[in-house]
């Protein structure tokens, strides 16, 4: 755990402690602790150093937890739903500035989120968990290439069975209609397969 930083969804810093006291403790037990980095981040974000953790706002608590995680010079940073409760501006700032900066330094960032749009711009690899099982685990580009939403106008010229067969071939996982058009989401999209469907 020496080079691993963790920011849980609910920050677990002891409620009775302050940012200063946390620093005392962590500097003692964390081999690669950078106090200057820690205090600079707190100052830049306006997190008070002598106020008890329980009295900080939710956002300040998260920022403090993040500052703690980063000050340990982690090689792996684990973020549990870091954008929860953040507005769009703060979310973009987190993704583009922070994570981008860490990636440039070679720090691996492992984050969990429901914000798929947000991670699309920064993630190298994506996993999808459902019911405790890892359903998907592959590079983002591969994932984006595989999954596709098809839209077509309703027609009576083609029997529905043929359409269904074509969709099966593309690995359909869901169908529906939207604004008068038919839709289908497939997970095995390829140009050849699509031509065949067409």
């Amino acid at each position: 755990m020496e080079r691993v930083g963790v920011v849980p969804e609910n920050p677990d810093v002891p409620p009775d402690t302050t940012a200063d006291r946390v620093e005392h403790f962590l500097a003692w037990v964390t081999p690669f602790w950078r106090s200057a980095n820690y205090f600079d981040r707190l100052e830049s974000l306006g997190v008070p150093r002598r106020q008890r953790f329980a009295r900080l706002s939710k956002g300040q608590q998260r920022q403090l937890a993040l500052a703690i995680a980063l000050a340990g010079s982690p090689r792996l940073l684990v973020l549990d739903d870091p954008t929860l409760g953040l507005d769009a501006v703060a979310r973009r700032k987190l993704y583009e500035e922070l994570i981008g900066e860490l990636a440039d330094r070679g720090t691996t960032v492992f984050l969990t989120t429901h914000d798929l749009v947000g991670v699309e711009g920064i993630a190298d690899r994506v996993g999808v968990l459902h019911g405790g099982s890892l359903l998907v685990d592959e590079p983002l580009e591969v994932l984006k290439a595989r999954y596709c939403r098809l839209t077509w106008a309703p027609t009576d010229d083609i029997p529905p069975e043929r359409i269904q067969a074509g969709l099966q071939h593309l690995g359909v996982i869901g169908t529906g209609t939207a604004q008068g058009a038919n839709e289908a989401v497939v997970e095995k999209f390829s140009e050849i397969g699509f031509d065949r469907f067409r």
Binding site: P8, D12, V13, P14, H24, L26, W28, T30, P31
Partner: protein, 639 residues
């Protein structure tokens, strides 16, 4: 270690307000002498008592509260992850927090004790009688134990997993084993061993709780249920090992026989001298003593339960030596079952009966051992011993108190009683006819100012009463008929006369020149014999060992007491003295030569047998054999 110290420092800082609380309490305690109602007491004493009590109470209360919350709250609210997300081991988290809490608690106790230490001075405070190792244990160990217990219970209750069944079962089993280990030592009356075993159990509990707590945190980490399971397994596993070892040790302490005796005490002796009730200690067994009925002639013995203090609780023998009876084990005022054995069998065995008596009941066997009389709460109950059948129960009149009972024959009981009225000094003599249950008053000794003791001869024909007449400061001895109580004559004996087995009166007294004057005379008629023993100061007559032969103990060298003492048999008729041994001491030291009912109300027809038993220099019990004149080793002695 680094991480442990880091956790310790963090936890101490997080709870530093407790020290302020302690200061506030100390201030309040120092003001106690000014409270209304205590102004009559010494201010120093008030502060000492007040701060001592409050310090201990506050320390224990804090330990309980912190034990229940320090880990439990963080586990329940998911905050322990803060530590486990760092390079900090679970053991560091555990020990860091435990040491921090205990340091705070102990400092709080010292702060609250400060008013007492200041007003009385540290030297005076620590030199008080109450300040001993127990006090230190209470202030140091009690809070630690309470903290660990509260933590364990907190985890069990919060988690509420099925492991709770293991916890409940474990607690019950440990409690049972603790009881099984401690109760026998309590019954035996071995306080040192009791404290050692109790202390070992306490230490085992402390260690097990510490180990369980540490492993619970280290393995369970942030998962409450996993913490519970790890704690339970570690706690009960550790405790099981320790309790097993302590049980083996406690059992070993009390597991020794007469062959291992190093010190022997004789309690009672069978009238024929063939069996003795002994209590002995063995090497390395602390203060544990075992009680046995031991044969003085054969290599046999019977274990007896531990007994309470008091000669009335010893083994009771039939006059013919055929039967012995005793109370079963128990503590305090618990009723005891009765056990007996047939000493005439080649291999006597202890037999339980269905009879239960109080610890204060008096027991008497008939001469042939076939009947038992129990005197309890003013009622005499007579049983056929073999069948355990109640033959008759007789309620005694209220004026017959402090009663001694003896079988004249299997159908007749003689009672010697003292009324429980301070103004009236008398001895009431009565008989009970067992078949009819009729109580008949047959005699009384009365008209006396004060009676100090009385002795009866073996045939229950005559009695000597030591008394003081009204208005006189001089104690007199008087000879009475032991059946009617009638005065036969006043005795001019200055000492305490005894009865020989043949009924003659015997008196030993010291002359002015240090010699010993021995007088033997019939109760009535002629035949007085006087002897003077030129033995040195300190000579004593120990008892009648053989018919008309008394044991005399005297210094080997009158001018050098370090030479020790010598025992000799003195023939009261011929005056012949024969040495039988040296450097011996009496058994049953706490009462002198007894004649029948004497010094209160117990019966010793086994006096001659007692007189033939000694403890030699090695601490062994030896028996003087009149036929061979040899000292025969019975049991015990330093190996």
């Amino acid at each position: 270690m680094n991480a442990t110290m880091a956790v310790w420092a963090r936890e101490v800082m997080a709870r530093r307000e407790l020290l302020l609380l302690a200061v506030a309490v100390a201030v309040i305690v120092s003001l106690l002498p000014f409270l209304p109602g205590v102004e009559n007491y010494e201010a120093t004493d008030v502060r000492t008592v007040g701060s001592s009590a409050v310090a201990l109470a506050l320390g224990c209360l804090l330990a309980l509260l912190l034990g229940a919350t320090v880990f439990g709250n963080d586990l329940s609210e998911g905050r322990l992850g803060f530590f486990f997300a760092r390079p900090v081991s679970g053991f560091a988290v555990w020990w860091g927090r435990v040491l921090a809490v205990m340091a705070l608690v102990w400092i709080v106790e010292i702060i609250v004790l400060a008013p007492a230490l200041y007003s009385e001075g540290i030297d005076n405070f620590t030199s008080r009688d109450e300040f001993d190792w127990l006090t230190i244990l209470a202030y140091v160990i009690a809070p630690l134990l309470l903290f660990l217990l509260a933590h364990a219970v907190s985890i069990l209750v919060r988690a509420g997993t099925p492991w709770l069944f293991l916890d409940l079962g474990g607690a019950i089993v440990v409690a049972i084993f603790a009881w099984l280990n401690l109760r026998p030592l309590f019954e035996i009356g071995a306080p040192v061993a009791l404290w050692v075993v109790a202390g070992a159990l306490m230490a085992a509990l402390l260690i097990a709780l510490s180990v369980g707590g540490a492993i619970g945190v280290a393995v369970g980490r942030v998962d409450l249920n996993r913490t519970h399971s790890a704690l339970s397994l570690a706690l009960w596993g550790t405790l099981a090992i320790f309790v097993a070892a302590i049980t083996l040790y406690a059992g070993w302490l009390a597991d020794f026989g007469p062959r291992q005796f190093t010190d022997v005490d004789v309690v009672t002796v069978a009238p024929d001298g063939l069996w003795v009730e002994t209590i002995g200690q063995a090497k390395d067994r602390l203060d544990v003593k075992r009680r046995y009925l031991i044969s003085t002639t054969a290599n046999r013995w019977l274990p007896l339960p531990a007994r309470d203090q008091g000669l009335e609780n010893g083994v009771v023998f039939a006059l013919d030596g055929s039967t012995a009876m005793w109370r079963g084990g128990g503590v305090g005022d618990e009723p005891r079952s009765l056990w007996w054995t047939d000493l005439g069998r080649p291999d006597p065995m202890a037999r339980p009966t269905s009879l239960v008596v109080s610890s204060e009941a008096a027991l008497t066997l008939s001469a042939d051992g076939s009947r038992l009389a129990i005197l309890e709460e003013g009622t005499v109950s007579i049983y056929e011993l073999g069948e355990e059948r109640l033959v008759k129960a007789v309620r005694l009149p209220e004026d017959l108190q402090r009663v001694a009972v003896v079988f004249i024959d299997t159908n007749t009981l003689r009672l010697f009683a003292r009324p429980d009225v301070d103004e009236v000094q008398s001895i009431l003599i009565a008989e009970i006819d067992v078949p009819t249950g009729e109580l008949v008053r047959i005699g009384v000794v009365t008209g006396l100012e004060e009676i100090s003791w009385f002795g009866v001869d073996a045939a229950l024909e005559h009695m000597v009463v030591s008394t003081r007449m009204e208005g006189s400061l001089v104690w007199e001895r008087r000879l009475h008929d032991a059946k009617s109580g009638a005065l036969i004559r006043n005795l001019d004996d200055a000492g305490f006369p005894r009865f020989l087995q043949d009924g003659r009166k015997f008196l030993a007294s010291q002359n002015d020149d240090g010699s010993l004057a021995l007088v033997v005379e019939p109760v009535e008629g002629e035949g007085r014999i006087d002897h003077t023993l030129r033995a040195a100061d300190g000579s004593r007559v120990l008892g009648e060992a053989v018919p008309n032969g008394v044991i005399v103990s005297h210094l080997v060298d009158p001018s050098d007491r370090t030479q020790g003492i010598r025992q000799a048999l003195f023939d009261v008729d011929t005056g012949e003295m024969r040495n039988i041994g040296s450097h011996l001491r009496r058994t049953v030291r706490w009462f002198p030569w007894q004649s029948g009912v004497e010094m209160g109300f117990f019966w010793h027809r086994n006096q001659p047998a007692v007189s033939r038993l000694f403890i030699d220099q090695s601490g062994a019990l030896v028996r003087w054999d009149p036929e061979s004149g040899e000292m025969v080793h019975v049991v015990g002695g330093q190996q």
